[in-house]
Amino acid sequence: METKTIITGVIGADAHAVGNKIIAFALEDAGFKVVNLGVMVSQEEYIDAALETNADAIVVSSLYGHGEIDCNGLRQKCEEAGLKNIPLLVGGNLVVGKQDFAEVEKRFMEMGFTKAYPPGTSLETTIADLKAFTEN
């Protein structure tokens, strides 16, 4: 089976780097090719990397609370760049404060994400979903 390429990174002005390194390690371990953009990634950087590497999915992390502001418009930019229907996954601490995740999830799905994950989601869940979303 062909190796799938995943873009990972932490969006916006967020410097939380630990989880990012662990996600990259775990996804590689699970058989994916990982292009890890690190922290403080702009929407444009995700898209450029996905285009350059012919990526199969983009995994956005956001830990610092500004996720709602930073993720807005990413799906539209993907469509405009020709990355039609590319799986967009997002997880971390997506909003400021403890909020009902069903509400938060709705906001991110409306922004065009394929999947949004609550705090505490296991790596195994993300890996299983990525395998399903990137199956041809």
Binding site: G12, A13, D14, A15, A17, V18, K21, I22, F25, A26, G38, V39, M40, L63, Y64, G65, H66, E68, I69, N93, V95, V96, G97, K98, P119, G120
Partner: protein, 486 residues
């Protein structure tokens, strides 16, 4: 760009200041002489350094939260709640992440969206967008001293506005607010920016206004060996004192093994005093800060209280001057004011209950402190050697060489070769040294500790141990055991 560990000349400083004050419209409200007069009007009981000095004399451990929201009226309400209901001894104003990266337009977007939605869309207080007068509304509304807390590589204009705005303490440093908080800022640039901040504080000192400074101890807050974060703290204290700072709080982030944590605070304090005195800064006052566990927290709030209280206990038993408190909402990020107050009260209970007890003279603590001090000496000697006596130059070269190397840092100027892991008792040890210049004896000490763990867990020493350690506390443990091992 050439940096030196030398007090900035008035000519150089004031030339730069002209540019800095023009970086954003709110800079035009800063007037040094007027700000000095305003600071002098702040009563002693509301001055951060005065309260710290008293705590050092009394041997008490003060409690302080982190807190900041987008809208200033709500921010004032929040801080009042934390000092009344939460019994906080010292107050913060935590700055939002856009401001920290000088992205003031986005900070404004955050303010506007917060008005629209009725909730804070920013993870902190955009003090620079608000300017001097609103900062004064904040600082004058409270009974306790207030400090700016952030993570800002270029904090020059923010410092100007904050001190003029009535804050009497200011966190940060050229290494500790670079390596964990940025990707692309060079060490030379941030050391230079923080020499500006420290020189400004030095000028306030010369005008008779004392402002407390606090380098950021925990760095990446993830399995950082005490010798590394302590060495950085000492360097930043020396660099700050060179610019005229007279009051420094040096910090450390909890690791979770009590003996190591107490030893880390004791060695931090004694080595800071030793090096400041060596450089003739004998009039610089020192205090210490212990940060409650900075890594991943359990989702369950009751279990979170366990982690919070353990940090509070360790801080008091180490006789730290203050403790920065976490909250039961830590696993989801920014807490409600109720959750923040709850973390404070749990910590206050321990700070007062354990006041008469100390672990400082335990033989195991003294032995661990000797090891940390020996390691710090190896690192600081190398920094001094690389810089040919100049600690600013030495720091730049040390990062290039990986002599200073912070685990899990986002900065591209950090080597990232050094890897830590917990030993069988949960103390942080060095799995791979990279280019940290420890003696052979010390390297062997760490290897033996980790080999002990490997034998117990029946697996090789490896990065998987580190990954397991990162998740461990969230799952209820200190050491990340593989499946089937207790």
């Amino acid at each position: 760009m050439e940096i030196k560990n030398q007090k900035l000349s008035n000519d150089d400083f004031f030339a730069e200041r002209k540019e800095v004050l023009q970086q954003w419209p709110t800079g035009k409200d800063v007037d040094f002489d007027e700000a000095v007069a305003y600071q002098k009007s702040i009563p002693a009981k509301k001055r951060f350094g005065v309260k710290l000095e008293q705590a050092v004399k009394d041997g008490t451990t003060l409690i302080q939260p982190r807190a900041g929201v987008a809208l200033y009226k709500e921010h004032i309400e929040l801080l009042k709640y934390l000092e009344d209901e939460g019994e906080a001894d010292l107050l913060p104003t935590t700055i939002d992440s856009y401001t920290r990266l000088n992205r003031y337009k986005e900070a404004q977007v955050g303010i506007d969206k917060s008005f629209e939605t009725g909730r804070s869309m920013l993870n902190g207080f955009p003090a620079l967008n608000y300017g001097v007068h609103i900062c004064r509304e904040v600082t004058s509304a409270l009974k306790s001293p207030v400090q700016v807390r952030h993570g800002t590589p270029d904090a020059r204009l923010l410092t100007e506005i904050s001190i003029a705005g009535g804050f009497t303490s200011y966190e940060g440093g050229g290494i500790s607010y670079n390596i964990p908080y940025s990707k692309n800022f060079s060490i030379e640039h941030t050391i230079a920016h923080w020499q500006y901040t420290d020189r400004l504080i030095g000028l306030y000192e010369e005008a008779g206004v004392s402002i407390n400074r606090e380098p950021f101890g925990p760095l990446t807050g993830t399995l950082v060996p005490p010798c590394i974060s302590n060495a950085v703290a000492v360097i930043e204290a020396v660099l700050a004192a060179t610019q005229g700072v007279k009051d420094v709080t040096v910090g450390y982030g909890q690791c979770g093994n009590l003996i190591q944590d107490v030893a880390a605070i004791r060695s931090l304090e004694s080595m800071t005093r030793k090096y400041l005195d060596q450089f003739s800064f004998t009039d610089v006052r020192i205090s210490t800060v212990f940060h409650q566990w900075m890594g991943g927290f359990p989702q369950d709030e009751s279990k979170s209280f366990g982690v919070i209280s353990w940090g509070a206990a360790a801080a008091v038993l180490a006789k730290a001057t203050k403790v920065i408190v976490k909250t039961p909402h830590e696993a989801v990020g920014i807490p409600t004011k109720e959750a923040n107050a709850a973390g404070l009260k749990a910590s206050k209970q321990l700070a007062s209950m354990l006041q008469q007890q100390s672990f400082c003279d335990m033989p195991a603590v003294i032995a661990e402190a000797e090891i940390i001090m020996a390691e710090m000496t190896c690192i600081l000697n190398k920094v001094e050697e690389l810089g040919k006596g100049d600690w600013a130059k030495g720091t730049v070269l040390a990062f290039e060489a990986g002599v200073l190397d912070i685990p899990f840092a986002p900065s591209k100027y950090n080597a990232g070769k050094m890897m830590p892991a917990r030993d069988n008792n949960g103390a942080i040890r060095i799995l791979s040294c990279g280019n940290i210049p420890l003696s052979n004896e010390l390297v062997l000490f760490h290897k033996q500790k980790l080999d002990e763990r490997a034998a117990y867990e029946n697996r090789a020493v490896s990065f998987q141990m580190v990954v397991d350690d990162v998740y461990a506390i969230g799952k209820g443990f200190l050491v990340g055991r593989p499946n089937g091992v207790k």
